[in-house]
């Protein structure tokens, strides 16, 4: 494991910062979403499909009086869609709230910014646009997801 310290994007900090990440799983991959962006975790909801919507839209869910558009992470990564009940993270981005469909939601991990690294150059373009680097955990990698990049409006612009 490399011990080189990486400056956290733009910040000139010598000492490491601790960040809280909610871990979610999709297939075998572990992803992390900063808990500051998570409004709620909705377990076992059945999103209502929206005909003619872009592929990445996982459907609509009813959340506290509003109807939220959800984004299917599976669909985004080109994995086969999952039928039936889904776990949903309700995320907040600059453009409003939306849901993120994931396979399962794990524990909250506290990671050190010292363990952060940017996306490797070998990653395909689509994933580069979706991932925001990774944290090196003991034994595995936690791939960072940036809620701003997953916002449906942003996705429809970037995938267009």
């Amino acid at each position: 494991m490399s011990t080189a310290t990486v400056a956290v994007q733009g910040k000139e900090k010598a000492e490491a910062e601790m960040v809280e990440m909610c871990s979610v799983r999709l297939g075998k991959t572990l992803f992390g979403v900063p808990i500051t962006h998570i409004l709620e975790i909705v377990g076992s909801a059945r999103p209502q499909p929206v005909p003619l919507a872009p592929d990445f839209v996982g459907g609509l869910i009813h959340y506290r009086g509003d109807v939220l558009t959800t984004v299917s992470l599976r669909q985004l990564l080109g994995l086969p869609a999952k039928e039936g009940l889904q776990n949903i993270l309700v995320l907040e981005s600059a453009g409003g709230c939306f849901g993120l469909l994931v396979d399962s939601v794990g524990e909250v991990l506290i990671v050190s910014s010292a363990e952060y690294e940017l996306n490797p150059a070998t990653l395909d373009e689509r994933r580069k646009a979706l991932f925001a680097g990774a944290y090196k955990l003991r034994g595995s990698l936690l791939i960072m997801l940036d809620p701003e990049k997953l916002d449906p409006m942003c996705l429809s612009a970037s995938l267009a």
């Binding site: 209502q48 872009p54 009813h62 009086g65 109807v67 409006m153 429809s156």
Partner: protein
């Protein structure tokens, strides 16, 4: 600036803007009634309040200008000046000046750099009661320039601070002026307009955001109620509780909606100024009549119709009402009349902008429409004059300069229609060449909660707004093959002899996917009338009609352009709300050859919506009409379903006994034929339902005015339907008949034999 100051400034801005709005209304009114002390008092108060508060908040430029205005108004209030045209023009300019400074404070938090010296000196000049004014009633500038006599000093002394127009610290003008103005103004306004006074005491300013949130929460409650009602429907113990919940929810919803209502005077109030300015620039003479100012409408809707109304007023003044000379030549009063009318009709508000101007030359509109290919010449000949007139709303046509110049209307009429239809309203135009034009808008009272029919397609629920729905046709799988006809790959249905283009919802939403053939499933055709297009939307299931709460969709889904929102149903499912107009547009690509006909068809539909709509039926060879709003459904059933209680035909309809009227003898005629089918129109009559036995259902049509007529047995009135005088079935009479009070002779005999 601290938070405290910010709050104060915000409050001040709101109050001042309201004051100025009032002032604007009063000023234009004052022109009509120059002696009205109450109006002058109101105007004075608006300016005075601004001046008083600005000193406190430190807005020097505003204060100086308001002060100059206050001096002038003080003289006016004391009766030392008369409210003539130059004076009112000057005051309107003062109003604009104050407004622009307020605007600058609001947006830039500073008063801005402007110089008001010219305006102030104008206002000062107006303080001299110049004799020339009477001679120069039209042009404000002349009036101001010629008023150069020195000010009579005794007038000036009436105001303690009047001698120094540019004053920086008002010593005590507020308490000095306040009692003086209160006495006369209060006494009068209490007599004339008690509302103005009491409103201030019993009302509360509430942030629109709070109201929106409340509306949202009430929407949630309505949904929860729907779910509770469905979940407890089978539990008798819960009946009382759920009924109570139902009532309270309904009341609460009404109250919250009420809180969002605002009188249309908020918009109408701005019109006099527009009329005044435009008549001066255009050289027209126009009298404005306003009716139904107190009619209330949801705030968001009020905002949405502001532009269409302003547009219509401009159109009327610019192209409708002729210059005075032209009017005189045409034998009309040189002063034109522009009328604004608002009235509530059921769950809609009608807003009319009418003028007695030149009207629209239908001939030109039609020619233009044919020229542009909007409509075929053949089709145009079939349209009534009124229908042809509605062509003016068609986009390509309205921007045409020929129509604009010659017939008067057109600039952006399609925009007016788009704006009004966007909020679920309808707009139509009525004009008589040489006599005048009326633009009528029909606006729903509220947007947040709408009645909708829930339809099913692809195992999914969709909501279809009732507003666009005109009727439903059931085509069972067995009949689908013959009932649905095709021109190439365009499906059509013969609706009462006319071809109706069909759109299959599943094929539209999932193009390319494998769908069940129409003859392998149940089909329901929802006949829709949207954006002037009439078509049938085919779905494979119907659920109940529901009052749905419209939830907005995220931008990415709005871009699909087929859904106007989403809603949560009683069973907690989500349903997308279909936008009939958008579906018509999208389907129009595949059905291009139908466009012109459909366009015209749509105009017919829009026209029909104008009057009462009737269901045209045939009863024993005679045509009769039933008001469509009273028709619940049309049942076709075997004759043996009709049972008799004594002599009375009744129908066991959804577990309830429905009295059936057979004054036309349809049932009697079919008697004995065991295989006979009868058609019963099920209608609402007060709290009851009644059935009417008919031979055929012919059509749905808009009826003209009711004329007086002698009353036949069940005919209380007649209407003009499709240029034929048609009797209207009197449903009230049916109930009496069914109760056995007016039984026909042969039935009385039958009873005797039974007895």
């Amino acid at each position: 600036m601290g938070a405290m100051d910010d709050e104060l400034t915000r409050e001040f801005l709101i109050e001042s803007q309201e004051g100025l709005d009032r002032m604007e209304r009063c000023l234009t009114e004052l022109e009509e009634k120059p002696q009205d002390a109450e109006l002058i008092g109101e105007i004075f108060r608006a300016v005075h309040t601004i001046k008083g508060t600005t000193g406190f908040l430190g807005f020097k430029r505003l204060e100086t200008l308001a002060h100059a205005g206050e001096n002038l108004l003080g003289l006016l209030r004391e009766g030392k000046l008369t409210a003539n045209r130059p004076l009112i023009t000057g005051l309107l300019e003062l109003l604009d000046g104050l407004r622009s400074i307020l605007k600058s404070i609001e947006t830039k938090a500073s008063e801005g750099e402007g110089d008001d010296a010219v305006l102030i000196s104008q206002l000062e000049a107006l303080q001299m009661p110049a004799q020339v004014e009477a001679k120069e009633p039209v042009c404000a500038q002349v009036g101001v320039a010629s008023a150069s006599a020195p000010p009579p000093s005794k007038i000036r002394s009436a105001q303690p601070v009047a001698s120094a127009p540019v004053i920086t610290a008002p010593e005590e003008p507020v308490p000095a002026a306040a009692p003086a103005l209160k006495a006369p103004a209060e006494a009068e306004s209490e007599a004339a307009r008690p509302r103005v006074q009491t409103a201030a005491e019993s009302t509360l300013r509430v942030d629109v955001a709070v109201l929106n949130r409340m509306m949202n929460l009430v929407g949630e409650l309505v949904l929860t109620r729907n779910q509770v009602l469905q979940a407890t429907a089978s539990d008798p113990k819960m009946t009382m509780l759920t009924r109570r919940l139902d009532m309270v929810t309904a009341d609460l919803r009404e109250s919250v909606m009420q809180a969002r209502m605002q009188p249309v005077s908020n918009i109408f109030g701005k019109i006099p100024r527009i009329v005044r300015d435009l008549t001066q620039t255009l050289g027209r003479r126009v009298r404005l009549q306003v009716e139904g100012q107190e009619t209330e409408l949801d705030k968001s809707l009020l905002e949405a119709i502001k532009d269409p109304i302003t547009h219509a007023v401009r159109n009327s003044l610019d192209h409708g009402i002729e210059p005075p000379e032209a009017r005189q030549a045409a034998g009309k009063n040189p002063e034109g009349i522009l009328k604004l009318r608002a009235a509530q009709e059921g769950s809609h508000v009608i807003i009319e902008v009418s003028d007695d101007g030149a009207g629209i030359d239908v001939e030109r509109v039609r020619k233009k429409a044919i020229e542009r290919g909007t409509i075929t010449a053949k089709r145009a000949m079939q349209l009534s004059e009124r229908e042809q007139l509605q062509l003016i709303f068609v986009p390509g046509l309205s921007t045409s300069d020929v129509v604009t110049n010659v017939s008067g209307r057109g600039v952006g009429m399609d925009v007016v229609r788009t704006n009004v239809e966007k909020i679920g309203g309808k707009v139509e135009i009525d004009s008589r060449f040489g006599k005048g034009t009326t633009l009528r808008m029909r606006i729903p009272l509220t947007l947040a909660i709408i009645p909708a029919l829930i339809v099913r397609s692809m195992n999914q629920s969709f909501a279809l707004p009732q507003g666009a729905l005109s009727e439903l046709v059931h085509v069972p799988a067995a009949q689908a093959a013959t009932a649905i006809e095709w021109i190439e790959d365009a499906p059509l249905y013969r609706l009462r002899g006319k071809l109706l283009p069909l759109v299959f919802l599943d094929q539209m939403l999932k193009p390319g996917a494998e769908h069940k053939n129409a003859s392998e499933r149940d089909n329901f055709i929802a006949v829709l009338d949207a954006d002037g297009r009439r078509f049938g939307l085919v779905v494979d299931g119907l659920a109940d009609p529901e009052e749905i709460v419209v939830k907005p969709l995220s931008g990415v889904l709005k871009d699909i352009r087929l859904y106007s929102g989403a809603t949560v149903l009683g069973n907690a499912d989500l349903a997308l709300i279909l936008d009939p107009g958008a579906i018509a547009m999208k389907a129009g690509v595949a059905l291009r050859e139908e466009d012109a006909a459909r366009e015209a068809e749509g105009e017919t539909g829009a026209e029909a919506a104008r009057d009462i709509e009737y269901l045209l039926v045939e009863v024993a060879g005679r045509q009769a009409a039933v008001p469509l709003s009273d028709v619940l459904r049309i049942e076709q059933l075997p004759l043996n379903r009709i049972e008799y209680i004594g002599f009375r035909p009744v129908l066991n309809f959804e577990g309830q006994l429905l009295p059936v009227d057979d004054s036309g003898g349809v049932l009697t005629a079919a008697q004995g034929n065991s295989a006979a089918q009868v058609i019963v129109v099920v209608c609402r009559e007060g709290n009851r339902q009644v059935g009417i036995a008919v031979s055929h259902v012919l059509d749905v049509a808009g009826g003209g005015e009711l004329f007086e007529a002698g009353s036949e047995q069940i005919t209380s009135g007649v209407t003009l339907l499709k240029d034929h005088v048609t009797g209207v079935v009197d449903l009230g009479g049916v109930v009496r008949l069914a109760a056995g009070q007016q039984a026909p002779a042969e039935w009385s005999q039958m009873r005797e034999t039974v007895a």
